[in-house]
Each structure stands twice: as C-alpha cells, then as structure tokens.
C-alpha cells in the first residue's frame, strides 16, 4: 500500500501507546456515560452528550462533497487518556510524549514566540501553560474539561449555542464524544499580543479525536489563537472531528490561525463558527496541507453594525487527498464587510474544492463582500472546483466574486530558467509566490514551515 505523503511527511512517527484510561472501540450511550464518568462531569454535560448522541444516530452524512463511505465509526476508539493530568512543565510529561512534542518543535516555539500553549495528546490536554502576566490580567486559557468544572456559568452561557449539536452530523458526533480542546476568555480591553497556541496530536491507530474549543473575546479585547495538528501514518483511518465556537464582542478582534498537517490517513471534519458583534473583527487563517479528507467551512456571523469578517484559506491536495474547504459570511447587520481569499493547489491526483457562501439579510444595508478564489493545478490528474454562492436580500449589497484557475505556465518557467533556476526551483518559487498572500499572514515561525512543506511537496511535481 502506498501512503499519501509518506515520503515527505516529517511527523509520521509514533511512540508506544500509553493509556491510563480509555474506552473500547465504537460509540454507544454507555461509552458516552463512561467518558463522562472518567471526566467526573456535571449532570448537565452528560445530558448534553446523550441528546447529541441521539441526534448523531439520526443524522446522515451530506450528499455532497467528499466520499466518506470508507469511514467506519465502529472501528474507532473514541476516548483515550494518556496521562493522569495536565502538567505545567514539559519535564513532567512521560518521556515518549515529551519526545513527541520536542520532535514537532512545540516547546521551542513556546520559548520563542508564544504567550501560552496547550498540548492535547489523544483525548486529553497533557500540558498547558500560560504567561503569568496574562493570568494577572484575567486571561483564561485552559482545556475545555477544566473550564466545564471551573467556569460552569460562562461555559453554559455559550457552549453549543453557536454550533448547536444538531447543526450537522459531525457537530452532533463531536457534541456527544467531545474531549479536550481549549477554553479562552479574554477580559474587556485586554490585548494579548503574542499568540496562544493549541497543539493537537493523535498517536494511536484507528482513533477519534474530538476537541471542543470555545473562545470569548470581551469588548475591545484582542487575541490571536493558533492551532497545529499532526499524527502518525497508519494503514487504518482515524477521525478528527472538532467544534470551534468564537464570540467576538463589540470592538474586539480575534484571529484564528490553523496549520493543519494531519497524516494522510485522517478524516478531518470540523465545524468552526464565529459571531462578530458591533465593530468587531474576526479573521480566519486556515491552512490545510494534510489529512485524507478535510471538510471545513469556517463561518463568521456578522451580527453587529460595522463588523468585519475575513477568511484567508490555503489548501494543498496531493495524492489521495481531498481538501473540501470553504468559508461562510453571514451578514445580519448593516455596514458589515467580509473578504475571502482562497488559494488552492492540486497535484498528483489530489482534489481541492472551495465553497464560498455569502449571505446578506434583508435589513443589512451598506454591506460588502469580496471573494477571490485562485486555484493552481499542477498536473492533468488533479482537480479543483470552486462553488461560490452569493445571496442578498438587501438591495444595496456590493458582492464581488472572482475565481481563477491556472496551471504553472511554461512561459513563467522559461523566464525563471533563463535566470538559471532548475524546473524544481522555479516551480517552488512560483508556488510559494502563489500562496504568498495567505502565508504572509501566518506568524513567521509557521510561514517558514509552510514554505518548507510546500517545497518538499513540489519535489518532482514540475518539469
């Protein structure tokens, strides 16, 4: 069997499995009770899970989009806890887990440029740390399970309100089986300058990771949340299904950056939604490089006058990969503005799809939205599709959509060759140039990694 990406994928290693607690394979009401009991959850959360599970059982997978028929829900293990509790020092982690994060470079990134780190391994967060200064300012950055117990009032007010369990099959599954993820609360007026980072790692085979993230940025605050994810390469498939809900209050600003680099055996089904109130700014920077199948269409609900929503999307679909991504901008309030920039690359038979969905409500006057979707197709076996959907009930909305599809032009390659660049160097430069509008928005430490990954992927693709 030939693994997607296996030649170039640096994070495909695994370490011996470690489980202090876990469930058997498959999902049932009793397994959900078991998960809730291990977590020692309040009754309301168990109810939420069980109701969600009922919704999941009656839900169906979408009739559109990627083929999910090979996804076997019964072969997956839904919960696995690898350490007794989250630690605050990398040294306190079991050596094999510590080594995993060292190889990925998380502790190094933390030292260099992060304000806080949360590292999830299988189902639970195993490490979390936030700068003392931020804690003093009242910033909360902890795993979601801790938040349910420590901050139940805030959690109950927001949890599952933006992405209700019944939203879609994957949000129902996540709501039933969720574990880990981040809870972020930024008090009024607090501006967090360095990014907070969550790192998600799956180590086991045939595993399901269902993290749940809730971010609340109070009035006038700002935060940049970064997430990264990797997994070992296995012959069997694993599932990652996350739900992310973000509340951006009046005048606040949230940027959520994802560098998704799952191994080629992961189904990545994610529901992300943000609500932006008056003059708030919500920016998604969504980079999808890995996984077997990704389905992810982050949304911004522009609910207050003057709110802005942005999506910068980058996807790379290589051999055996289908990146089905998109963005949704829902203009509910007047004078709201949104922008979508999508760059996709398809190669070696990979397929990328981008679904842009812009809606403007009847009384939302003075709104504008622009979308630019550029696709680069590197060979004849690969495919790219753009599915724009624009609908406005307001008479004066200015909506613009532009889509381009290009192949790496012979003429540009010849120009670069005349400067002495080999076809590989030229291809790498052209592709990096193509994705530059998105990559430049990613923190430098990650943009270098993105460029490196793209260069690796380009080996042998051009010329």
């Amino acid at each position: 069997m030939d693994f997607p990406d296996s030649d170039n994928y640096k994070y495909g290693f695994s370490v011996p499995e470690r489980t202090v607690k876990g469930t058997g394979r498959g999902l049932s009401a009793s397994i959900i009770r078991q998960i809730s009991e291990i977590k020692n959850e309040p009754e309301w959360m168990l109810d939420f899970r069980l109701k969600s599970y009922d919704l999941f059982k009656t839900s169906s997978q979408p009739k559109w989009g990627p083929d999910l028929s090979a996804l076997d829900y019964d072969s997956i293990t839904y919960y696995k806890k690898s350490t007794e509790q989250a630690v605050k020092s990398w040294d306190d982690l079991p050596p094999e887990i510590r080594e995993t994060y060292d190889r990925i470079g998380v502790p190094e990134a933390e030292r260099d440029f992060l304000a806080g780190v949360s590292a999830q391994y299988e189902s639970e967060v195993v490490y979390e740390s936030v700068q003392k200064e931020l804690t003093k300012q009242g910033v909360i950055f902890c795993d979601m399970d801790t938040a349910v117990k420590k901050y139940p009032d805030i959690v109950r007010e927001y949890f599952g309100t933006l992405v209700p369990p019944g939203d879609n099959f994957s949000s129902a599954l996540n709501s039933a089986a969720w574990s880990g993820g981040s809870f972020v609360h930024i008090p009024k007026g607090v501006k967090v300058t360095l990014p907070l980072q969550a790192y998600f790692r799956i180590n086991s085979e045939a595993f399901g990771q269902f993290e749940r993230t809730l971010i609340i940025a109070e009035e006038g605050s700002s935060v940049h949340y970064l997430e990264g994810c990797t997994a070992p390469i296995y012959r069997t498939d694993s599932l990652h299904s996350a739900v992310v809900e973000i509340f951006v209050k009046k005048g606040a600003r949230v940027r959520y950056t994802t560098v998704q680099n799952w191994s080629g055996n992961i189904y990545n089904l994610v529901t992300k939604r943000a609500k932006a109130e008056e003059d708030a700014v919500m920016e998604w920077v969504d980079c999808n490089l890995g996984s077997k199948v990704t389905m992810k269409y982050p949304a911004v609900i522009l609910a207050g006058r003057g709110a802005r929503g942005e999506m910068l999307s980058l996807s790379l679909a290589g051999k055996g990969q289908h990146q089905d991504t998109g963005a949704r901008m829902i203009h509910l309030a007047p004078d709201t503005h949104s922008r979508i920039v999508s760059k996709s690359i398809s190669k070696d038979g990979g397929r990328s799809s981008f679904r842009g969905d812009i809606r403007v409500a009847k009384y939302a006057t003075g709104c504008s939205s622009s979308s630019v979707c550029d696709a680069l197709i590197l060979d004849k076996d690969s495919r790219s599709d753009t599915y724009p959907s624009l609908s406005s009930h307001a008479s004066d909305a200015r909506l613009a959509h532009e889509a381009t599809v290009e192949k790496i032009g012979e003429e540009k390659l010849f120009y670069l060759a005349s400067r002495g660049l080999s076809s590989q160097e030229a291809g790498g430069l052209l592709v990096n140039g193509f994705i530059e509008p998105v990559v430049k928005e990613v923190p430098m430490e990650y943009s270098l990694e993105l460029n490196r990954l793209i260069n690796l992927e380009m080996e042998g693709s051009v010329g």
Binding site: G409, K412, F414, Y415, L416, S418, R419, L421
Partner: protein, 251 residues
Amino acid sequence: MLSIKNLTAAIGDKEILHDISLDFEPGKTSVVLGPNGSGKSTLSATIMGRPDIILSEDSELTWNGVDLKPLSADKRAKLGIFLSFQSPLPIPGVSVEELLRVALDEKMDPVALHKELRLLAEEIGLAEEFLTRSIHDGFSGGERKKIEAIQAALLAPSLAIFDEIDTGTDTDAVKRIAEFLHAHFPKDATRIYITHSPRLIELIKPDSVIILKDGKVVAKGGHDLATKTIKEGFSNIHSQLTTHNSQQGTA
C-alpha cells in the same frame, strides 16, 4: 563564441527561422534588426532554449564549443547565457530579490545581494519598492526593462541577449539603461541587442548589424547598415540579399 549554423527552427508546425548561420564574437556588440514577425524574438529564445522551439536535425548551435541543443534553458544560463525578455510576464508573489536569491544561491549571500540590488536600483533610477514587489506585476515598460537590466548586471553573463530592452521606455530611460549595461558588463562579454531604436543603436555603437526578414538573414554589415536601414526602411533590404547572403563572414 556563439556559433549558429544552418539553424532552422519551428514552433508547432510553423517554421519561423530558416537556415540561419551567424557567429557572435566575444567582446563584440551586435544588433539584430528586422520588421515585426521577422523571427528576432524567436532567434533569441532559441539561443536561450525555450522548450517549445524545435530545431531541425542539421541545425547547429554552440557556445564556446559546447553544443547547446541538448541543454535546457537553466543549464544554458549556468554556462553564462542570459536573455532579457521583451515583455516578461508578472509573477505574483515573487520579487526580483527572491528570484535572485535562488539564482545566485551559491554566488552571493542574501545580505550582500540585498545591498547590491539597492545600489544598482539607485544607479539605474528605479525606486526600491520594485525590488520587493511581485516582479513585473503592474510595472511600466521602463520599470520592467530596468529590472531586466539589473538582473543582467547581477548575473554577469558572458553572452547577453537584450530583446527590445528599449521598448516602452522614454528616451531618458533608454540612455540610462544603455549606460548602465555598458558600465556593468565585462569587456569580453558577447552582447546581442534586438531593437528598433536608432537612439539605442547610437548609444551602444554596435560592431555588427544583422538584418532579419521572414526568418532569414538578409543582410549583414557594420554600424552604417543600421543607419541606412532605419532611414530607408526594410523594404529595400531584399535587393541586398544576394550580395550579402553569399558572403560568409562573422557578424
């Protein structure tokens, strides 16, 4: 020396250049003149090695004795051959500095390159922003040609072909570019200019002039041939075909 013998070149089914024989000596400056569609740009692209140009079996193309025919354009560039494009395409997201960083990877460190580029831009009269913006993207004719000239200076080729380095530039810029190239090129480099500009020809003072028409060399001569051709037009050249074409000589 660049030596071209019995060169016949086609793009697809269309033969563009017919049985061309020319020699270009080291240290000499040549001008190729000809009406639109005469094959001038195809000739320069053939020398550089554009992959869609197909040469006939008996075509010969050598540079200092090395057969160029089997070599791709990047390998020819590594041998010191450079082509300045007539209308280079914009490359989104790639600046001239990034391009040169890759091209000069082993020859110049990025810090030195950064410095040198700025000095050259100042000298040729180009604002610094054009070094870091996407190359040729929204640049005026003059800005494009200056960027091409700066690359020529940094890559220091031993054979440089300038395909209409003057087109789209004002007279001041032509002078500036010509002086810049003169200052930055080693004496023994071989230079080939494709141009329509009497002003550029005056500035570069070519050692030899070649007239190309319908894909054939119809006349060769010195500086005065250029002056005469520009004055009288290409239509009179045909009559010279027999006299000049029979001569075997170096351009």
